[in-house]
């Protein structure tokens, strides 16, 4: 296999954890295979981030901070990616399964006629091609898939855990990608960005999360979750069902198509444990389920369980925790 092109978005001038996973996976494949790993870094700070990306597994870094990327992330992103692909001519393109990779991955695969496997939880080289493992059918099955084409595109789910420790002795080239972006009149334009307002800690940063599902039964029930979250210094999250019911805003949704969180403690309240929810909280250090159904699927995923009605359990638990602290 030839080279690997890794697409990463910089945030605050540095790679995201998802980006570091991509580099780690690419380096692992290249180690067996001898190909070169090129990182395409999108967004501001590419020149400064370059050496850091090399220490994490890249052999070469191309960066692009064109302001059009912020105004037209999809269309400008495609022009930049297509240019990088022409220069590198990789056999494998690796993107994160995040808002950028889930957009650009399918588009570049269609343009190149390359086989695409999305949402990989792991990937490894077997007999010269990359085989991908990923849950399908809401986690009721696990599929192994591979592209049948010479060129492949893979998106990797955040949290795959493939990142390598920085090795400052690694060397490589860092240069700006020469690309002229000419926005067309029909390009969608970002006219405003809003960062979520939240009173407590943000879900992504919270060390404790109390998450509510359909079993909470209504918006009022969430006040009990807020009280427990407050006692823990944490935040409140939700399942899709609670969002669909209109009890909480979509910004609280945790799961495959919501937020992926990694708190020390995750308490799922009235949540049945559908895999699409659980992938969003699987990286919690300790997972606790409170559910009145002793057979609920969630007790398969949780470390600790309490069987009972949350309306009694939560006030009692909030008191017990306050007493301990």
């Amino acid at each position: 296999m030839g080279g690997i092109l890794v697409v990463l978005t910089l945030q605050g001038g540095a790679a995201t954890p998802a980006g570091l996973d991509l580099l780690g996976l690419a380096a692992e494949i290249a180690q067996v295979d001898g190909g070169e790993v090129t990182a395409l870094a999108l967004g501001e700070g590419g020149a400064g981030a370059g050496q850091g990306l090399i220490s994490r597994g890249a052999d070469a870094v191309l960066y692009c901070a064109d302001p059009a990327l912020a105004r037209h992330p999809g269309e400008a992103g495609m022009q930049v990616l297509a240019q990088a692909e022409r220069e590198v001519q990789p056999d494998l393109l690796l993107l994160a399964a995040d808002s950028v990779g889930r957009d650009l991955g399918p588009r570049i695969a269609a343009r190149l006629g390359a086989g695409l496997v999305t949402e990989a939880t792991s990937a490894a080289l077997h007999a010269g091609r990359v085989e991908v493992t990923r849950p399908v059918f809401g986690g009721k099955a696990i599929a192994r898939m591979a592209a049948t084409t010479a060129q492949a595109v893979i998106t990797l789910r955040p949290g795959a855990g493939a990142a390598r420790a920085a090795d400052p002795s690694r060397t490589g080239t860092v240069r700006e990608l020469a690309v002229q972006i000419a926005p067309a009149a029909n390009w969608p334009t970002v006219v405003r960005r809003e960062v979520e307002a939240s009173s407590g800690p943000r879900l992504e940063e919270a060390t404790a999360i109390v998450s509510g599902g359909r079993g909470v039964g209504g918006p009022e029930g969430f006040s009990l979750l807020h009280e427990l979250a407050q006692a823990l210094g944490g935040a409140v999250g939700a399942s899709r069902a609670a969002v669909d019911e209109g009890w909480v805003p979509a910004a609280l949704q945790i799961g495959q198509t919501g937020k992926a969180v990694a708190p020390d403690l995750y308490i799922a309240v009235g949540i049945s444990g559908a895999s699409q929810h659980m992938v969003g909280c699987a990286r919690a250090k300790t997972l606790v389920a409170i559910n009145r159904d002793p057979d609920a699927l969630i007790f398969d995923a949780a470390r600790l369980g309490l069987v009972g009605d949350y309306r009694e359990a939560l006030p009692a638990l909030t008191r017990a925790i306050r007493e301990l602290s």
Partner: protein, 261 residues
């Protein structure tokens, strides 16, 4: 304004794991007796289209699906929700990869022109690949806005809300585009009225033959090597106690022991 919504009929994602089984010959689930439903994000896309039509009078909605005759159920549902037209591309959808599906849908969309917007769910609730919408955009050489949850401005220039990891962006469109739709509290699919369900049964469905709209489908670019049931997980340690107070104290103590609080 003509809006086309892409719909897919899928194995009900809410069936319990116990009821899920794999046909190893086809490397696909056994679906003979399993209930089929409209894929949930496609429902959100449909709701977005209906909301847009409520906000401006000139909207006409076409529902487009790809699949065997069974997929007509998705179209009937769309018609019951008062979509104006319904079209199915007749194809054994399960045998195609996402790019082949996107090429077929793009061919059908060319026949349905002119339109202003194509809406698709962000991913289907069966294989959860999340590829077809963006690939349709690429095939039609159109811009794509992913993860749209609502319309911010229904008058021209149209603006939509795109959900991002920590917040959202308001994106103004500059012409025809493909939007992939994600869920939020505003786009839960409404229920159909009984009289509309009855009327929908009498509306015509248009069927396009895959071979007639696209001469060469090409080869599948992706192979399923294996499909297996996941390993059986360990059950949680359930805290015991005579009263809720005791259970809660036991849980708090265990959390302290595990260093979680």
């Amino acid at each position: 304004m003509h809006v086309v919504v892409l719909l897919k009929q899928v194995l009900d994602p809410e069936i319990p794991a116990k009821a899920f089984d794999i046909d190893q010959g086809r490397k696909a689930p056994k679906v003979e007796r399993a209930p089929q439903v409209l894929s949930i994000f496609d429902g959100n896309a449909l709701e977005l289209a209906l909301k847009l039509r409520e906000a401006r009078a000139d909207v006409r909605i076409t529902a487009l699906t790809l699949g065997p005759q069974q997929a007509d159920e998705a179209l009937r549902k769309a018609l019951a929700l008062t979509c104006d037209e319904a079209v199915r591309v007749d194809a054994e959808e399960g045998a195609l990869d996402s790019h082949q599906k996107a090429r077929l849908l793009a061919a059908a969309l060319r026949l349905l022109e002119p339109w202003d917007l194509v809406l698709a769910g962000r991913q289907a609730a069966d294989w959860e690949a999340g590829q077809v919408g963006a690939m349709v955009a690429e095939e039609l050489a159109l811009p794509c806005v992913p993860f749209v949850s609502r319309v911010e401005q229904a008058a021209e220039p149209l603006a939509v809300r795109q959900q991002l990891e920590s917040g959202y962006a308001v994106v103004q469109l500059g012409g025809p585009a493909v939007l992939t739709v994600t869920n939020d509290e505003t786009n839960v699919l409404r229920a159909a009225k009984v009289k509309d369900v009855m009327a929908a049964g009498r509306k015509p469905l248009r069927v396009l033959q895959a071979g007639e709209i696209l001469a060469d489908l090409g080869e599948s670019a992706v192979e399923v090597l294996s499909l297996a049931l996941p390993p059986k997980p360990e059950r949680a340690e359930i805290v015991e106690g005579g009263s809720m107070e005791e259970k809660a104290s036991a849980l708090a103590r265990r959390l302290r022991e595990l260093g979680a609080i």
